[in-house]
Amino acid sequence: MTTAVRPVNETGLQGRIAAWVLRNRKPAPREIRLDRRNIYILPTRYGMVYVATLFVMLLGATNYQNSMAFLLAFLLAGLGLNAMWHTHRSLAGLRVIRASTPPVFAGQTALFEYVVESDDGRLRPGLVASIGNDLPVAFRVPENAQGRFHLALPATRRGRLRPGRFQIYTRYPLGLFHAWSWLEFDQSALVYPRPLDSQREMPSGGGGQDGAARVGQDGEDFTGLREYRPGDTLKHIDWKALARTGDLLTREFTEARGHDIWLDYLALGGLDPETRLRVLCHWVLDAERRGLRYGLRLPGQSLDPAGGETHRDRCLERLALFGIGD
């Protein structure tokens, strides 16, 4: 079973065409380069009106045998063809790189950030990104610099929210042609359960089990790993992990203080599973806010009591992905 959300409408004509055209394309891990293999172009309805205008102009020019009107009609015909190439060119050579996607709570809006660069440093105005039926997002790539845009998707359910396929399109410069590209990244946003204040009392400490916390070198409790940030002391870098995976991680420690509480799924009898997760989510946030040391127990897994944002996020992640094949 998968609860990953695919919001793009696949039943519409365009969606079906997209599905057929893209049937062999795999989602990109990190970066997509737009070139003639993945850019599509069609005239807009204004392009059609433009052609009709030219046709009337040609009729007038023929009737009056008016050379200047002929020249104008032919200049505009050339302009239209040229605009096709320019519209194509304002997408070609763009590189779209997926950037950060902060986790959100269910009911909030997930923001997917993308960075856009161009191969040649040309200014690319009038770009639009659009996903599903949502409002299109206008952006541009300045000269010799990066552009960026955010796609907003409503996160309705906990789990991993995949944006699926989205479009980047442009009509620049003349609006006569619509050039677009379908993009899909292998990415997702983590959606935590929506916190629920159930009026149930959060378990208080005291009844704690041993906790089995390892003692760190500095007499502090090891609480977890997080991404390396400049300024972290070298002593705390997880060198083994670096050697194994190549990721630069910092080990986090917190000083032991107060007593531990356990936030337990099984303790919330009488509620359906999703509601239990929502209550647990509320408790995690609450406990962290109050500076408590808390552990999380879910059927088949548990996180030992600790504190700090990293610990909180690990707890929330467990809640988000509980029961979902990852």
Binding site: M68, A77, L81, R89, L123, E143, N144, L174
Partner: protein, 659 residues
């Protein structure tokens, strides 16, 4: 009922205030020339709509409600109808187009409406050409097209458009790149001969030229006009000035006062001697059928008729500039055998009038040994009696021929031709008046002959046994300078002359030179741009060896050429990209060039940082700056992110770099 404003279509760009302002400005610019072509209220009302729309945008005025807009539309149609008594045709159509454009802007709320007004704007540009295709108008329209295209780019540049200069640059580049396609289409697009639905009457207004009748005073209007009648390029040697008689309408019927064309319908013969002259005439529109040709034409490229009077007539009135090739004989025998009917017609005089002239002619004919001697005596009479060539002769009364011959004795070509022909007929010699042009101004820059309306002329043809119709020019007897030097030479003393004939001295000569240059530019424009029609297209294809190409062939050739030119421009762009034509590389190449001048050569395999070290070792004084600029360049070129400020830093660094 309150109507909701139409919603913008999904996914369409927003219409920004700035884009709309520029659109209004560009459209207003395209409308201005119509103040010359339309009654002023039409463009004025349109501009008033523009002003209202602008006030909505900047001053918080309100757009008119729908009912008012409908009412205004009906009023506009009624006004146009009241003025023109029609709503179709060129003038009424343009008036409607302008007013509708103005009213469309009054309901322009969204991108969609704005786009439609842009297309209307392009159309307004085209309508300007239906009034004038002169070079200044064309230049103005080039600016207008750039403006409208610039506004169109602005509409499609998104909510954060590039700067003014960048947008103008894109519009200009788009248009420049479209020029090759325009030329290919202009030359090869299959042309239909027009008109498709008829030329509106108004298009013919204000054209001057020869008429099919000659009354006293009818030519004098032309004689004071500086306007161009036609221009001629010769393939052979141009004829000497005295032989530059350009044949127009031939007038055979005399009613006592004026001369008219006559339709005799009989056949014609022409026997030429020596070498014929071949040339191309580029005739200005005059709304008549005459195709002017050197006396006497025998063949023409154009689909034209040669009448029994040896006139060249087009099938339709010449309402646009027309080009045609002609072959003429200047040494000829014309209609040596003439039918009895024609003979009678060209001898006929009205029962009344010109009694003294008839009497004199009959007396002299009786005294003369033959027709030739009689003709010589009449010419001598014009030459030796006190006849004066003048453009402002006294008015003539009921019996113009006698009054002219025996009282006023002042006149110009039409008086002399008329009197001479009457005397010939009175003496039993068939005679007719030929109108046309005489002379022309040689333009040495463009190597062509410019014939103006002021060169209009009338002379006489007389039919003699065995010799056929022979040309006699009684005006030449009075004023030989008129024939040898043109009309400028004929007028002496305090004669009232058209202003353009008064120039002399250095300033006058400079003006003449400038005029010659301007006229030859116009001639080029006429020949290669305005005159390019179906016939010229065929001629051009024939010259490049594609004489037998048909429509399908032209379309294929056109497509192939367009593809080639498109591929070429793509190739240029790709090559530039391969060369590394980004701003950073350009600056780095500048730096390398400066170092090369100092004798430090960059090897192709060297990366920027290695090269910087090597160069720094050679020139320690420059080391620091070299390292800094090379690092900047390497960062921009090979780093992942470009940055406008870094490019600027590199540019200014390279600019300051001195070896």
């Amino acid at each position: 009922m309150k109507r909701k404003s139409p919603r913008p279509a999904h996914g369409e760009p927003l219409l920004t205030g700035e884009a709309l302002s520029w659109l209004l400005a560009a459209l207003a610019f395209s409308i201005l020339p119509h103040f010359l072509n339309q009654p002023p209220w039409v463009p004025a009302l349109t501009l008033a709509c523009f002003g209202w729309r602008y006030a909505v945008l900047r001053r918080g005025w309100r757009l008119p409600p729908r009912w008012l807009l409908t009412l205004l539309t009906l009023i506009a149609i009624a006004l146009v109808f009241a003025w023109y008594r029609t709503v179709v045709g060129r003038d009424a159509g343009v008036a409607l187009l302008l007013l509708m454009l103005g009213l469309k802007l009054m309901e322009t709320r969204h991108y969609r409406d704005a786009m439609l007004t842009v297309f209307l704007g392009y159309f307004v540009v085209a309508t300007n050409f239906f009034y004038s295709q002169e070079i200044p108008v064309a230049l103005y329209m080039v600016a207008t097209i750039l403006g409208v295209t610039f506004a169109l780019v602005g509409l499609n540049a998104g909510e954060r458009p590039p700067r003014f200069k960048a947008r103008l640059g894109s519009a200009g580049a788009l248009l420049l790149q479209s020029l090759p396609l325009m030329l290919i289409l202009f030359v090869l697009f299959p042309r239909l001969p027009g008109p498709l639905w008829g030329m509106p009457q108004q298009a013919r207004a204000g054209l001057t030229g020869l008429s099919d009748r000659m009354e006293p005073g009818s030519i004098s209007e032309l004689l004071t006009s500086n306007a161009t009648a036609f221009r001629v390029s010769f393939e052979t040697v141009p004829p000497p000035a005295a032989q530059r008689y350009w044949r127009g309408p031939v007038l055979s019927r005399f009613d006592g006062r004026g001369w008219r064309r006559d339709f005799s319908g009989a056949g014609q013969q022409l026997e030429g001697f020596g070498e014929p002259l071949r040339y191309t005439v580029s005739l200005e529109a005059h709304d008549k059928l005459w195709l002017l040709a050197l006396d006497v034409p025998s063949e023409t490229s154009e689909d034209a008729t040669l009448t029994p009077e040896h006139e060249l007539l087009a099938k339709r009135p010449v309402t646009q500039l027309k080009q045609y090739r002609v072959t003429s004989w200047t040494d000829y025998r014309m209609d040596a055998d003439m039918g009895a009917l024609r003979r009678t017609e060209t001898l006929r005089l009205p029962a009344q009038g010109a009694e003294r002239a008839r009497e004199l002619a009959q007396t002299w004919r009786a005294e003369a040994a033959g027709d030739e001697q009689f003709i010589a005596r009449v010419l001598q009479h014009f030459n030796q009696q006190n006849f004066v060539y003048t453009l402002s002769p006294p008015a003539l009364g009921a019996n113009p021929v006698d009054e002219f011959l025996f009282q006023t004795r002042r006149g110009f070509c039409e008086h002399y031709a008329s009197a001479f022909a009457v005397m010939m007929r009175a003496a039993g010699i068939p005679a007719r008046v030929v109108t046309g042009y005489q002379g022309g101004e040689w333009n040495a820059l463009g190597e062509y002959l410019l014939v103006r309306q002021s060169d209009a002329h009338a002379w006489v043809e007389v039919w003699l046994e065995d010799r056929g119709w022979l040309r006699f020019d009684p005006t030449a007897a009075v004023s030989p300078a008129r024939i040898e030097q043109g009309i400028r030479g004929a007028l002496v003393g305090d004669e009232t002359r058209p202003a353009y004939m008064l120039r002399s001295g250095l300033w006058g000569q400079l003006r003449d030179r400038a005029e010659m240059l301007w006229d030859s530019t116009n001639y080029f424009w006429n020949n290669w741009v305005l005159g390019f029609g179906p016939a010229q297209q065929r001629e051009f294809l024939r010259r490049i060896g594609l004489g037998h190409i048909d429509w399908a062939g032209m379309v294929i050739l056109m497509t192939v050429l367009m593809t080639i030119s498109g591929a070429l421009s793509v190739l240029v762009v790709l090559l530039r990209r391969r060369r590394g034509d980004d701003p950073a590389s350009r600056q780095y190449r500048r730096l390398l060039k400066r170092l090369r001048r100092a004798g430090i050569e960059h090897a192709p395999h060297e990366g920027p940082l290695d090269f910087a070290e090597r160069a720094a070792a050679l020139r320690p004084d420059l080391a620091e700056e070299l390292r800094r600029l090379s690092a900047l360049y390497a960062g921009l070129r090979y780093g992942r992110v470009g940055d406008a400020t870094l490019v600027r830093a590199l540019r200014s660094g390279v600019a300051r770099f001195r070896v």
